[in-house]
C-alpha cells in the first residue's frame, strides 16, 4: 500500500521538483507574516552574507501540518521546519525527525557551551530552540475607552465587554484560557486538564462564548479581524500584536494576564532533500547574534541566554523592546508555561474532542 503510494506520487513529483530543489541551498518552512520577516532579517541575510548560501522561506499556518503530511506521504520537500516544541517532541517520538546532537552547536558569544547557553527546555533530542513567545489577548482600545479589559475572565465576559472574540482553531491554545477564566491558577492548568472532569470543565467554559467566537487559523488573521472591527478582543501571538501596535500604529492593547508561554524550535525531518545544509543553517541561525538580531524586528525572546543582553531597541531605534517581551518578569507573573510532554501525549485526543465540539 505504502509502496504504491510512494511510487505514484514519486512518478508525478520527482520530475517536477528535482529541478527546483537544486536551485536553492536550503528551504525553511516557517509561520509567515511579521515573524517570517524577522527571520529573514535576523537569520537569513547574515547567513547568506557569511556563507553565500541562499535560503528560501515557505509560509504555513502551522509548519507541523505540512511536515506530518510530507513524512506520511514519503515525500519531504523542505530541509528545515520551525515548530512548536510540543510538536517537535511528538514528531521525534514518531521517528519523523533527525536527531541533533546539542554538543555540535556553537558556543555562545560569551563562551558558554551551547548546552548551558540555551534556556531550559529549548534543546531536545531532535530540536534546537530559537524563540520564546507568548499567546496573549489583544483588544481594540477604541471599543473600551473608559474601562479596558484586564484579565482572562474579562475575555469571557461578553456582557461587560461586548463584541465578538477571536480564538484559534486549536485545542492547545484555547483550553488553558477557558480554565484560567474559570478560576484555575496558572500553575495548576495541566493538573486540571489531565483529568476528564478538567477537560469537561474547559469545554463547558468555552461553551459560554461559543456563539460569539470568530475562529482564526493563520497567525496574521487575528490582527486583521481586530483591525477590521470584526472582533473586539482576540488572542494572538505576542510578536504579531506588537507588530500591529508598534509597527503599524494600530490602537490595540495587550493583556499579559494568563499568557501562554511557548518555545519554538528548528527541526530537520528524516528524508529532507538537503539535511547537511539544513543543519548548517540551524547552527548559524540559533547563534547568539542572529537570535539577538531577530528580536530587533519582532518581540519574541531569544532562546539563548547570551543573546538577551544584546537585545535593545526595535528597528525604529526608539522603542524599548523589554516591556513587549513575553519573558519580561512582569509579563510572566501569571503566565502558563507550555508543557511540551503533556501536549506531545495528549494533543491527539484533545484535538479530536475539540474538533467534534467545534463542528456541532
Amino acid at each position: 500500500m505504502r509502496k504504491i503510494l510512494i511510487l505514484s506520487t514519486a512518478l508525478g513529483i520527482s520530475a517536477g521538483l528535482g529541478g527546483i530543489a537544486a536551485a536553492e541551498d536550503t528551504s525553511v518552512v516557517s509561520w509567515g507574516g511579521a515573524y517570517e520577516m524577522s527571520q529573514v532579517e535576523g537569520y537569513n541575510k547574515p547567513y547568506t552574507e557569511a556563507t553565500g548560501n541562499t535560503v528560501r522561506m515557505i509560509a504555513a499556518d502551522d509548519p507541523a501540518v505540512p511536515l506530518r503530511a510530507q513524512v506520511e506521504a514519503g515525500n519531504v520537500t523542505s530541509d528545515v521546519f520551525d515548530l512548536a516544541m510540543s510538536d517537535a517532541i511528538r514528531l521525534c517520538d514518531e521517528g519523523a525527525l533527525m536527531e541533533i546532537d546539542p554538543a555540535t552547536l556553537p558556543a555562545g558569544a560569551d563562551g558558554t557551551p551551547a548546552v548551558d547557553d540555551f534556556v531550559e527546555g529549548s534543546l531536545q533530542d531532535c530540536a534546537v530552540g530559537n524563540i520564546v513567545w507568548g499567546t496573549v489577548i489583544a483588544y481594540d482600545t477604541t471599543k473600551f475607552p473608559d474601562n479596558p479589559p484586564q484579565t482572562v475572565a474579562d475575555f469571557f465576559d461578553t456582557e461587560a465587554f461586548p463584541g465578538k472574540r477571536g480564538l484559534p482553531k486549536s485545542a492547545k491554545r484555547t483550553l488553558y484560557l477557558a480554565l484560567i477564566a474559570d478560576g484555575v491558577p496558572a500553575a495548576d492548568v495541566y493538573d486540571v486538564l489531565g483529568t476528564p472532569e478538567g477537560v469537561d470543565r474547559a469545554f463547558a467554559k468555552l461553551d459560554t462564548i461559543k456563539d460569539d467566537v470568530v475562529w482564526w487559523e493563520a497567525g496574521a488573521q487575528p490582527m486583521q479581524l481586530l483591525a477590521d472591527g470584526e472582533v473586539t478582543m482576540t488572542t494572538g501571538y505576542n510578536g504579531r500584536v506588537f507588530d500591529a501596535m508598534v509597527g503599524e500604529g494600530k490602537p490595540f492593547g495587550v493583556i499579559w494576564d494568563g499568557q501562554y508561554l511557548e518555545i519554538n524550535a528548528f527541526v530537520i525531518p528524516k528524508g529532507a532533500p538537503n539535511p547537511e545544509a539544513g543543519l548548517e543553517y540551524i547552527k548559524f541561525a540559533t547563534g547568539t547574534q542572529p537570535l539577538a538580531n531577530q528580536a530587533r524586528y519582532i518581540s519574541y525572546g531569544p532562546a539563548r541566554k547570551s543573546s538577551a543582553p544584546l537585545v535593545g531597541l526595535y528597528q525604529d531605534d526608539k522603542t524599548e523592546m523589554a516591556p513587549h517581551m513575553p519573558t519580561t518578569p512582569e509579563n510572566v507573573a501569571t503566565a502558563v508555561t507550555d508543557d511540551p510532554t503533556f501536549w506531545a501525549d495528549h494533543d491527539a485526543e484533545l484535538t479530536e474532542r475539540f474538533n467534534s465540539w467545534l463542528a456541532r
Binding site: 500500500m1 504504491i4 503510494l5 505514484s8 512518478l11 501540518v65 506530518r68 503530511a69 506520511e72 511528538r90 514528531l91 521525534c92 517520538d93 514518531e94 521517528g95 461586548p162 465578538k164 469537561d200 469545554f203 461559543k210 467566537v213 470568530v214 475562529w215 477590521d228 472591527g229 470584526e230 510532554t341 506531545a344 501525549d345 495528549h346 491527539a348 485526543e349 484535538t351 479530536e352 474532542r353 474538533n355 467534534s356 465540539w357 467545534l358 463542528a359 456541532r360
Partner: protein
C-alpha cells in the same frame, strides 16, 4: 460485430450476394478470418489512441481512490511495530486469560518501539479506538527504555494500572491484524466496548452522523434555492431576443469563470459585520449600529455563498432545455382556454423537467462534496462533512478515518444517483 458503417461490412454484403460458397480472399484465406484480423488491427489502433487517456484516468483517479478506500480498512500502525504482541494474539483466541507471557511481549515490544521511535505510531493507532491511550504508550515507552525485572505483569501495572484494562486489550487485539472495520464504525459514531460489542460513542463525541445529516439537508436546501433563483433567469435567457439574452448570458457566465476563492472572499466582504450589507442596513436605519447581523461564519454564510457559486450549474442545463421547447405548445394551450398558470403548470413546466433533473443532480452532488467555501465562511455551524475529512487528512493525519468517511459519502451519492435513476430515469437527464 460488423456494423453498418464499417467499410468491411459492405464487402461482406456484396460478397454474400455474389456466391453462397465459403468465401476466401485473393490469397486463399477464409474471408471471416481476414476480416477479423483487419478489424483487430483497426481496433488496436483505436485502443492505442485512447490509451493515454485510460492510463491518465487509471493513475490519477482510479489508483488513488482505490488506495484511499484500501486505507479505510487497512492500518498496520500497530501490527507492523508490535510483532510479539501480534504473534501472541494470533496464538491465543479471544477470551484467553492475559498471562505473564502476554505482558512480557507487551513490555518488550514497547521497549523496542520506543528505541526505534515508532511508539508514537503505535499509540496513535490504539488511540483511534480507545481515546486517551496515546499518552499511555508514549509515556510508558519513555519509562521502558530499559526493560523492567519480571514479573512483567506487575511491572507494567506499576507503570500504569491502565495496562490491565479490558477495553485496551480488545483494541490491541483488533489492531494486531492490519485489516479492520473499526474506522467505518468510528465514521458512524460507533465504537467497541470491553466485550468487543458495537456501541455508540459518548454523547459529546458524536459528530459524524450529525455532519452527514447536515451536509445532506444543506445540499438539498441549496439545490432548492438554486432552482427557485435559477428558473426565472433561465426562462428569461431562453425567451429574450438573442442580442439581449447574450448579454444576460455573459452576466451568468462571468461569475462562473471567476475564481472560486475570489467569489467566496467577496461574500466575506459583503456579509461580515463591518461589511457592505450591514453598513447599508445601518445607514438606512433598518438596524442599529449595535445590532449588526451575523450573516457569515455560520450556516447562513455557507448557504448564501454556496447557492451563488452553484447557481450556474442549475441555470445552464435549464436554459439549454428551455431553448428547445416549442412556444406554440403554450400558445395552443392558451387558445384552448387554459389560464396562463395552467398552461405553465401543465404544458411548459413538465417540459423543463429534464433540465431540472440534470441541474439538481449536478448541484446536489457538487454541494455534498463542497469544501473550500464552508471552510472559509462556515464558521463552526456551517462546516460540512468534507471539512471533517480535510481535518483528518491534514490535521490529525487519521487517513484511515478520512478514507472511511469519504467512502460513506461516495456510497451515499451513488445511492442517490441510483434512486434518481429508478424514480426519474437517467435517460431523461439533459445537459443540452
Amino acid at each position: 460485430m460488423a456494423n453498418a458503417l464499417d467499410p468491411h461490412a459492405a464487402i461482406v454484403v456484396q460478397a454474400s450476394a455474389a456466391t453462397p460458397a465459403p468465401l476466401t480472399t485473393a490469397d486463399g484465406q477464409p474471408l471471416t478470418r481476414a476480416l477479423a484480423r483487419s478489424q483487430r488491427v483497426a481496433r488496436r489502433r483505436a485502443f492505442m489512441l485512447v490509451l493515454p487517456l485510460l492510463a491518465f484516468i487509471l493513475v490519477t483517479f482510479a489508483l488513488p481512490i482505490g488506495q484511499m478506500l484500501g486505507r479505510s480498512v487497512h492500518n498496520d500502525g500497530y501490527s507492523a511495530n508490535m510483532s510479539r504482541m501480534a504473534a501472541w494474539f494470533a496464538a491465543n483466541p479471544p477470551g484467553t486469560e492475559r498471562e505473564e507471557a502476554a505482558f512480557e511481549a507487551l513490555a518488550r515490544d514497547i521497549s523496542d518501539a520506543a528505541a526505534a521511535r515508532t511508539i508514537g505510531i503505535v499509540g496513535t493507532r490504539i488511540n483511534y479506538d480507545v481515546p486517551g491511550t496515546r499518552s499511555l504508550f508514549t509515556s510508558s515507552g519513555r519509562q521502558l527504555r530499559e526493560l523492567p525485572d519480571p514479573p512483567f505483569r506487575k511491572a507494567m501495572v506499576e507503570i500504569n494500572p491502565q495496562w490491565d484494562n479490558d477495553r485496551l486489550w480488545v483494541a490491541m487485539r483488533s489492531a494486531s491484524t492490519a485489516v479492520t472495520g473499526n474506522f467505518y464504525l468510528a465514521a458512524v459514531d460507533r465504537t467497541r466496548n470491553e466485550d468487543g460489542a458495537v456501541m455508540r460513542v459518548a454523547e459529546n463525541q458524536r459528530v459524524y452522523l450529525m455532519l452527514f445529516w447536515r451536509t445532506f439537508m444543506l445540499s438539498l436546501l441549496i439545490t432548492g434555492l438554486t432552482f427557485v433563483l435559477g428558473f426565472p433567469i433561465a426562462h428569461l435567457l431562453a425567451t429574450l431576443p438573442t442580442r439581449r439574452s447574450n448579454l444576460l448570458m455573459i452576466l451568468v457566465l462571468l461569475p462562473f469563470w471567476t475564481s472560486l476563492l475570489v467569489r467566496t472572499t467577496a461574500w466575506i466582504v459583503l456579509l461580515q459585520q463591518q461589511g457592505v450589507v450591514n453598513d447599508i442596513l445601518v445607514w438606512l436605519g433598518v438596524i442599529g449600529n449595535g445590532q449588526r447581523l451575523q450573516m457569515i461564519y455560520n450556516q447562513t454564510g455557507t448557504i448564501v455563498a454556496m447557492t451563488h457559486i452553484l447557481l450556474p450549474f442549475m441555470v445552464l442545463p435549464l436554459y439549454s432545455v428551455m431553448r428547445t421547447i416549442n412556444p406554440s405548445y403554450v400558445r395552443a394551450a392558451r387558445s384552448l382556454g387554459a389560464t396562463s398558470w395552467t398552461a405553465f403548470r401543465r404544458v411548459y413546466f413538465p417540459q423543463t423537467l429534464p433540465g431540472f433533473g440534470a441541474g439538481a443532480l449536478l448541484v446536489f452532488i457538487l454541494a455534498v462534496g463542497y469544501y473550500i467555501t464552508p471552510a472559509l465562511v462556515g464558521g463552526s455551524s456551517g462546516q460540512l462533512i468534507s471539512n471533517m475529512i480535510a481535518v483528518h487528512m491534514t490535521d490529525t493525519l487519521n487517513w484511515s478515518l478520512a478514507a472511511a468517511l469519504a467512502a460513506l459519502l461516495l456510497a451515499g451519492v451513488l445511492a442517490l444517483y441510483w434512486i434518481y435513476d429508478r424514480l426519474v430515469g437517467i435517460d431523461n437527464l439533459k445537459l443540452g
